[in-house]
Amino acid sequence: MWSSLESIVKPKTIAEALEFRQTAGARFLAGGSYLVSEQDPMVTTLIDLNGLLETDVREEAAALVFGAGLTLQSLVEFQWDTPGVILAEAARYSVSSKNIRNQRTLGGEIARMRTDSELCVLFHALRGVLHITGKAGSIKTSLEDWDGNGILTHIEISRKTLEHSALERYALLPSAPAFMIVCGAKSTHGFNFCTGGRARNYWTETCAEKAFKGEAIRNFSEAASEQFESDRYGTRAYKKMLLKIAFDRLREKL
């Protein structure tokens, strides 16, 4: 029993949802798997966004646009052509339980910005664009720049960048959460990278395609390893070595 909870409201429009959010102790509820397991005692009102957020994937010009209400299991089950398979793989790795994937939404996963979520790391590498609706209207922003305010309604990625993307991960078992995630994608600006896992923060970098070799890979491994601590998964030096191997593999794949 979430005893601090006093009400669950069901807004009819996004504008109404934003209005409710002004109330002290109010939080948005999408899938609810994070919120209900944590049962934050400071939360008194939940604003149920189910039914307000789109749950489809559509193609717009050269981009794929995902409704924030899509469940992670929908990403797994979607009839992807070859390039989209990496999204299904990332969704499966991010949450190993199918039960939870049936509940958790893409918007909720992105909004949480967990560094140990393969999907979040991949969307960073893909330079995903977030469509946010706030009090002042709708804006598009990057994952790095979003301050968490407003409602995430869609996530947009370039189809071409998705076609040239790859994911590497290190975990004690294939089904266990990864302690290190490295994603890369080739865009018009060059190679984009993002690392995550049991890290303090994401590490992102972009580099020209031709420059991504030898010394650049060593420098990236050094810089990215600063986000990791020595822990039961290995020392920082060991993780630096794993990062270098992952970057080398990405170079081959991309």
Binding site: S3, I100, Q103
Partner: protein, 158 residues
């Protein structure tokens, strides 16, 4: 606030406090196949079907269920007695303490609706949300595969 949803094929009205989870509500209402495990979505012992999909009842607030369809294992036993899948669980010895068994049966039932003859990978993935502390997964997977074979035999008249 009163919320209306379909529970095991019947219209159900629940007057619950906003913070009550579906797990708490179902057990209070006598649906004991829904087990209380971790209360945080890790173990899946409280699996139910929401609109045909396996989900953890401990992570769902009753008041968010308006208009949805909820199924527990009691639904299948009322309709069919011992189901073919349960029979296969008995035959293969897929049950030890039995605490996670209702969850496994429901997770497999959900899969069978979309994949009448699921392959081993699909079966394993269906069970990924249910943590079994005693038997492991070899026998439940064997039971689901066994049921595939039995159903096939019945259909072809072998």
């Amino acid at each position: 606030m009163k919320v209306h949803f379909i529970l095991n094929g019947k219209r159900h009205s629940a007057k619950t406090p906003p913070g009550e989870t579906l797990l708490e509500h179902l057990r209070k209402s006598g649906f004991y196949s829904v087990k209380h495990g971790c209360d945080e979505g890790s173990c899946g012992a409280c699996t139910v079907l929401i609109d045909g999909r396996a989900q953890n009842a401990c992570l769902i607030l009753v008041q968010t269920l308006a208009g949805k369809t909820v199924e527990t294992l009691e639904h299948f036993n009322l309709k069919q007695g011992v189901t073919p899948l349960q029979e296969a669980f008995l035959k293969t010895g897929a049950i030890q303490c039995g605490y996670c068994t209702p969850a496994m049966l429901l997770a497999l039932e959900a899969v069978k609706r979309t994949h009448p003859k699921p392959d081993i990978e699909t079966i394993r993935e269906a069970l990924s949300g249910v943590l079994c502390r005693c038997t492991g997964y070899v026998k439940p997977v064997a039971a689901a595969m066994h049921e595939n074979v039995t159903e096939g035999e019945e259909q072809t008249g072998d």
